[in-house]
C-alpha cells in the first residue's frame, strides 16, 4: 500500500531526489505532514500545485494505493 511522490524543479533538491515512495495515507495534507519539516513547508507554499495521476487537483483529493502525486512549483521563465 504505497504512493509515489514526484518533486519537480527546485523541490527535487529539497526532497533529495526526483521521486520517492511513501506509505498510503488518505489525503494530500497527510502526505505532506509525513515529510521532513522543511520540505513540508515548501510543499504548502501558495504557488505549489498538485497533480494526482497526471490530473491537476485543487485543495484536497482522495488517495488510493499506487497513486502518483506530483508537486509542481511555478514553471521557469524564458
Amino acid at each position: 500500500m504505497a504512493l509515489t511522490l514526484v518533486f519537480l524543479g527546485r523541490l527535487e533538491d529539497l526532497a533529495g531526489a526526483g521521486s520517492r515512495e511513501v506509505a498510503l495515507v488518505p489525503s494530500l495534507a497527510a502526505v505532506i505532514a509525513g515529510l521532513e519539516p522543511e520540505l513540508a513547508e515548501a510543499l504548502r507554499g501558495p504557488r505549489i500545485r498538485y497533480a494526482v495521476n497526471g490530473t491537476l487537483v485543487q485543495g484536497e483529493a482522495p488517495l488510493a494505493d499506487g497513486d502518483e502525486i506530483a508537486f509542481l512549483p511555478p514553471v521557469s521563465g524564458g
Binding site: V6, L8, G9, R10, E12, D13, G18, A51, N53, G54, T55, L56, E68, A70, L72, P73, P74, V75, S76, G77, G78
Partner: protein, 148 residues
C-alpha cells in the same frame, strides 16, 4: 491540417524540421518561425529542462489546438526539447504557416508567449560547475497580458 506538437529528449535540426514543414505547405503564402536556442555567454555551461510527462506534452498539444482555433492557419509546428543542452543548441521551434502574413506572425508570437509562461518545464542552468534553478520571470507575465 499539417503540423504537430513534439516533445523531444534528443537534439534536433531546426532547419531540417522547417524544411519538412514547408515542403508540405505550397498553399501557404507565409511561414513564420521562432527558434529559441541556449544562449552562449554569461558563463552558462549548460541548460537542463525537466518536464513531467503526464502534463507537459498534453498541455503543448492543447496550446497548439488553441492557436489553430484562434487563427486561420495552413499548418502549425511546435517542437520543444527536454534534457540537458549546451550553448547554441536549439530549445524550441515554433512555425506557423498561413495564407496571410499577419496570421502567421500573430500565431507564432502567441504560441511562444504561452509556451514560455505556461508550459510544464522547469529549467536550471550550470554556471561555474554549479546548477541553479531558473525562477519565473515578470516579463513573461507581461507578454501574456498582450493577448488578454
Amino acid at each position: 491540417m499539417s503540423g504537430d506538437a513534439l516533445l523531444l529528449t534528443e537534439p534536433f535540426d531546426p532547419a531540417e524540421a522547417l524544411r519538412r514543414f514547408t515542403v508540405d505547405l505550397p498553399q501557404a503564402g507565409g511561414i513564420v518561425s521562432f527558434l529559441g536556442q541556449v544562449r552562449e555567454g554569461g558563463g552558462v555551461e549548460a541548460l537542463e529542462l525537466s518536464h513531467y510527462a503526464p502534463l507537459t506534452l498534453p498541455a503543448m498539444q492543447e496550446l497548439a489546438g488553441r492557436v489553430r482555433e484562434r487563427w486561420s492557419l495552413d499548418g502549425l509546428l511546435v517542437i520543444h526539447r527536454s534534457g540537458v543542452m549546451v550553448p547554441g543548441e536549439p530549445i524550441v521551434l515554433v512555425a506557423a504557416a498561413a495564407r496571410h502574413r499577419r496570421d502567421a506572425f500573430a500565431a507564432a508570437d502567441y504560441a511562444m508567449d504561452h509556451l514560455k509562461s505556461e508550459s510544464w518545464f522547469w529549467k536550471r542552468e550550470k554556471v561555474a560547475g554549479e546548477w541553479r534553478w531558473i525562477e519565473p520571470r515578470t516579463q513573461d507575465i507581461e507578454d501574456l497580458a498582450r493577448w488578454a
